[in-house]
């Protein structure tokens, strides 16, 4: 049986678990990107443009009825791309949309959003009234957030991260910035492992229970230590780049190949977005 005192002070365990969750998440995302599914078969450039169009449409629409087809499309695309629906729903609904639902709850009531009463009930002698504008606003807000999160998650889990970062060049992002982002992504994995090793070493020496003040010192010392190792590493990486002929002008390799299927997909996405925006405008 676990000791509650251990749980209370176990910041080391929590940090390790966060690091591992982060690593697993990143690995899992690449796992879906390597599956043979519909979204995985699309050219990353076309897929990114179409998903950004869907995202801008979802954020621009002012009606839950018009946003809901986009959410249904996300679920269909997840199934066609061989992403288990349970995992997809857990990942897309559990954190941000659930948090959004929590913060939007007070707006359901007449105290915050006056309007046509829809339903009233008593809580501890107080008459609570849910209004139509309150409910409409809350549904619109949560559905928009859930659809946006679903679109971003679909894009990121069905595309190899290195390819997704290269697509940034399409939007006029300077090559230097794209290279910096790509390099940073590669070092994240290394640094996360480094953090994990540091905490495992600390845990093996101090055990589970650690006083709060001591814990703060351990964390700060590790951050300072990580910084020292990163500055050392940046010098070594720079020397390695120079030895391979780097002159300060980065070049990125890209092997994207568009097929008629990609053009058809993009056309369909544009038609869907234009139709929804037109409907939203005429409402």
């Amino acid at each position: 049986m676990s000791n509650p005192l251990h749980k209370k002070h176990d910041f080391i365990e929590r940090s390790i678990l966060s690091a591992l969750a982060f690593l697993k998440d990143a690995t899992l995302s690449e796992e879906y990107a390597n599956r043979k599914g519909f979204l995985q078969s699309l050219d990353p450039r076309f897929k990114t443009i179409s998903f950004l169009a869907f995202l801008v449409t979802a954020v621009s629409l002012k009606s839950a009825i018009l946003i809901s087809p986009l959410y249904v499309l996300c679920l269909i695309l997840a199934l066609l791309s061989r992403i288990p629906l349970r995992n997809f729903l857990l990942r897309t609904l559990f954190f941000i949309p659930l948090f959004s639902l929590f913060i939007v709850l007070p707006t359901l009531f007449s105290v915050v959003t006056p309007g046509e009463p829809l339903w009233s009930f008593h809580i501890s002698g107080i008459n609570a009234i849910i209004t139509r504008p309150g409910l409409d606003g809350a549904v619109l807000f949560v559905l928009r957030v859930a659809t946006s999160v679903s679109l971003v998650v679909l894009l990121s889990v069905t595309t190899r991260h290195s390819e997704l970062l290269k697509v940034l060049r399409l939007f006029g992002v300077p090559q230097l910035f794209v290279l910096t982002v790509s390099m940073c992504y590669r070092y994240l994995y290394l640094f996360a492992t480094m953090v994990e090793n540091i905490f495992t070493a600390v845990k093996s020496r101090v055990g589970v229970v650690s006083h709060q003040r001591h814990g703060q010192n351990v964390v700060a010392w590790n951050i300072a230590n990580t910084w020292n190792r990163t500055t050392q590493m940046s010098e070594e990486v720079y020397m390695a780049m120079l030895s391979r002929g780097y002159t300060g002008e980065p070049r990125l390799l890209s092997k994207f190949n568009a097929t008629p299927k990609d053009w058809l997909w993009l056309l369909s996405a544009v038609v869907i977005c234009a139709f929804l925006l037109y409907k939203g405008y005429s409402l």
Binding site: V59, V152, L179, Y187
Partner: protein, 226 residues
């Protein structure tokens, strides 16, 4: 602090995206002047460092724990312009690959966390530590004060961005289309959490990290080559 997609209107997102373009351009110029060809590995590793800081859970009174953003610590070590780029890179990766912080809200998130946070924090640090030797106790206090000011200023801006939504974007019958709370709710809600809780996590991380870096003889950014 990370604003997700759907909380801000497209117009607000576009305004902050447009505001960030000259800031990023100025940051690139400033970093290029001080780091030249070394900037790619230096910034990439700096960005990875700022990402990793967010993975450290800091124990706080009551048995709970929280994580810091670390933007002011990065600004003290790399300078505010390099911190602006490093935090931007970290935010882009978080938004694009991990769904943390919205893609449409990337301009607003970068404005709050890659511009307001490191710049406010760095200049508070610089003002308090001005003239003190790099190993002095005043630097530790200045780092803590800078971290607190930076994170609270960023939270204030995020609160204002949220609070403006129902004023600017609503239906004819007053129903809010985006973040539903006005300035009177959004600003205190954002500020209170940061003034009472998150700000202190940032203070602990930044001040203690600076203390340990002083002991290890690290060189802090002084306005020229770092």
């Amino acid at each position: 602090m990370h604003i997700p997609d759907g909380y801000l209107s497209p117009a607000t997102c576009m305004v902050f995206g447009a505001v960030m373009i000259p800031i990023w351009a100025a940051a690139s110029r400033a970093v290029n002047n001080t780091l030249s060809a070394r900037q790619v590995p230096y910034l990439a590793i700096g960005a990875a460092f700022s990402f990793v800081i967010m993975m450290f859970n800091v124990p706080i009174p009551g048995g709970s724990s929280g994580h810091a953003v670390g933007g002011v610590l990065v600004a003290i070590l790399l300078g505010p312009w390099a911190a602006c780029i490093a935090v931007t890179v970290a935010l882009v990766i978080q938004a694009l690959l991990f769904g943390d912080g919205g893609i449409t809200a990337i301009g607003a998130n970068c404005f709050n966390m890659a511009f307001v946070l490191p710049f406010v924090g760095y200049y508070v640090y610089k003002f308090i530590s001005s003239g003190s030797p790099s190993g002095s106790r005043r630097r530790i206090i200045a780092a803590g004060a800078g971290a607190y000011a930076g994170i609270c200023a960023a939270a204030l801006f995020a609160g204002i961005e949220f609070g403006l939504q129902p004023l600017l974007y609503h239906t004819a019958n007053g129903q809010a289309l985006y973040c539903p709370y006005g300035l009177n709710v959004a600003v205190p809600a954002m500020l209170l959490g940061h003034l009472v809780f998150i700000g202190w996590v940032e203070v602990i991380v930044t001040a203690l990290a600076v203390k340990y870096l002083q002991k290890q003889g690290a060189v802090f950014f002084e306005g020229g080559r770092s």
